[in-house]
């Protein structure tokens, strides 16, 4: 009888993760037309928001302590980066539960959360290489972006983006777990999409929110998805406050990871008792 020969422990986990990341990168690259559509869509959005902000600023160079250049950079970068973050896992998971293919996902020698996490990391890498990076260069050439001058800001921006990914993923995963109980997931998908769009600061910087809403938005984890990285990039988070901003993201990333893991235990129990 043949024994299982695979590597175990951390190196095994990394081996498995690398395989899954590579797989989703390949999968994304298959859809060339999709990539083109995203590129065009982003260009249109950037143009719309440019004119919107120009007219709102009404010829002034500054508004409420934020310069036009900062705002334009924020808006453009928000549009470019937001496709990097998982936001529709619930449709995916819901679909796999309805079709029964979830059977395979939960018979793997891997936690279900890790399986999805690695796949989404692959999509992140693919989207970064095929959409975000080229869009960044195009936007730069069009003069839409003002770059930070400090190397520390660049570094913090990168870390913040990575933490934002984990927050986005685990939030998305927790919502997706609802698919184990619900048969219809579109409603929840739209609700979550709207909340994330508004509270992550994707289109509107949180500093222009009215005080009450701003307080709420700053307290919730959604801000850690995108707003933190963008605010750091455009210099709205002063250098000395960057560690606190990253700390906020880290705490939420860890808490959501824990919540996701616990939530999955409950979801798996429901599935295995009820048979889905």
């Amino acid at each position: 009888m043949s024994a299982f020969s695979g590597a175990r422990g951390l190196s095994g986990e990394i081996w498995a993760a690398a395989g899954l990341i590579r797989a989703s990168v390949q999968e994304k690259l298959v859809y060339r037309f999709d990539l083109l559509v995203t590129l065009v869509r982003n260009l249109i959005l950037i143009t719309i928001f440019r004119f919107l902000w120009l007219s709102l600023y009404g010829g002034q160079a500054e508004f409420g302590g934020v310069s036009l250049n900062q705002t334009l950079t924020y808006a453009t970068l928000g549009i470019i980066l937001s496709p990097l973050f998982p936001n529709s896992l619930i449709l995916d998971v819901g679909g796999r539960i309805r079709s029964g293919n979830i059977l395979f996902d939960i018979s793997r020698p891997l936690h279900f959360g890790s399986l999805l996490l690695y796949q989404m990391m692959g999509q992140f890498v693919a989207a970064l290489a095929t959409s975000a990076a080229p869009m960044f260069l195009i936007a730069l050439a069009l003069g839409e972006l003002t770059l930070p001058t400090s190397g520390w800001v660049w570094l913090a921006f990168g870390v913040s983006l990575a933490l934002g990914f984990f927050i986005a993923f685990w939030l998305d995963f927790i919502v997706a777990l609802a698919g184990f109980w619900l048969t219809e997931t579109w409603g929840l998908f739209y609700a979550k999409w709207s909340v994330v769009d508004a509270l992550s600061g994707k289109y509107l910087p949180l500093w222009i929110f009215p005080p009450f809403l701003r307080g709420l938005a700053l307290a919730l984890p959604f801000r850690g998805i995108l707003y933190s990285a963008l605010a750091i990039f455009v210099g709205q988070v002063p250098l000395e406050k960057i560690p606190a901003e990253l700390g906020f993201q880290l705490v939420w990333a860890l808490m959501l990871t824990l919540m996701g893991r616990l939530g999955y235990v409950a979801a798996a129990r429901h599935l295995s008792v009820q048979g889905g």
């Binding site: 009888m1 043949s2 020969s5 695979g6 797989a23 999968e27 936690h111 599935l271």
Partner: protein, 325 residues
């Protein structure tokens, strides 16, 4: 290797209620019905066995596979696979088993077949050199070279099923579960796959559990057959014993050009005769279908002939009839 002892799996299903009033009532006070998908099953499967797990649709075959893979938790009773309880050690169990579901796909639809193999090998942490060795061997056995680089969505059902089986074997699991792997396959593809399973079992000693509702699938490769019906084991016996009891009877259906004259058969009996159609049941040990047809040559022209094997539904029915007697 696999031990199942007084195993039960019951589902509570909410009844939607009939009509608007019924559905409204079900919304407030749902009515539940308990379904005994697996009902007090016990058996032991030794390492290296090939088991034909036979039963009509809805008999509890898939539920059993899901209990053995650890996806479902038993309502009561015991399951042990390689000494472990699958649902308590799902991840450890996962690396010891391969699973193929005939009606589902574990392959990446848009990627070439070989990519799916590489991804799965990584997921199961198979070292590269070992992966190459195993996949080369399996691919050669099933003659898959010419479609290895095609996207899965362009494969025929037979090609895809070969891919599914190789995908389940890349990490060299000691146990392979196949849930209706032959469904919808043509005879050639089916035979190639059955032969392959036999080879794998002989060469690697893989324990195979194979569910199907066609007796002809399992009679060739499974020395032991378990028939289940409505969640219970109806029969657990050797292939020879089961074929002797049930596998010998065939039906010959003949359509004639004209009305049929009374016939004298050398063997078998007429079980149905209407208009131009005649159905004869015969024991293939007593007479061959060919001799039986020859005995009908005095009739007016024969338009069409069909030979039917006994299907699992009639076997199960006969099992109950015999038990009642």
């Amino acid at each position: 290797m696999i031990k199942v002892f007084h195993l039960n799996k019951h589902f509570r299903i909410a009844q939607p209620g009939q009509g608007v009033a019924g559905k409204l009532r079900a919304l407030i006070a749902p009515q539940y019905k308990t379904i005994r998908a697996v009902d007090d099953i016990s058996y032991t499967i030794r390492a290296g066995e090939i088991i034909g797990y036979l039963g009509p649709n809805g008999a509890g075959k898939s539920t059993t596979i899901k209990l053995l893979t650890g996806v479902l938790v038993p309502t009561s009773g015991e399951v042990r696979v390689g000494g472990r309880e699958p649902h308590r050690n799902r991840i450890a169990n996962a690396s010891q088993i391969g699973v193929v579901y005939g009606q589902r796909s574990q392959l990446w639809w848009d990627l070439p077949l070989v990519d799916s193999f590489e991804i799965l090998a990584a997921m199961y942490r198979v070292p590269s050199a070992r992966y190459r060795q195993v996949s080369d061997e399996l691919v050669a056995l099933l003659q898959m070279d010419d479609f290895l680089n095609q996207p899965v969505r362009r494969l025929s059902l037979g090609q895809r099923m070969k891919g599914e089986i190789v995908a389940a074997l890349l990490h060299e699991p000691p146990i392979l579960y196949l849930d209706e792997p032959t469904i919808g396959l043509d005879v050639v593809a089916k035979n190639r796959i059955l032969q392959f399973l036999q080879t794998i079992n002989a060469q690697k000693g893989t324990t195979i559990v194979f569910t199907t509702h066609a007796l002809s699938d399992v009679e060739r490769i499974c020395p032991r057959i378990i028939i289940i019906d409505r969640g219970k084991v109806a029969l657990d016996d050797s292939r020879e014993a089961i074929l002797n009891r049930f596998g010998r009877m065939r039906q010959l259906v003949v359509e004639f050009e004209d009305y049929i004259q009374p016939v004298a058969l050398p063997a078998g009996r007429v079980i149905k005769q209407e208009n131009n159609n005649l159905t004869i049941e015969f024991d293939r040990e007593q007479i061959s279908a060919f001799d039986l047809i020859l005995s009908l040559k005095d009739q007016t022209g024969i338009r069409d002939i069909a030979i039917k094997e006994e299907n699992i539904e009639t076997i199960v029915t006969r099992l109950y009839e015999q038990a009642a007697r």
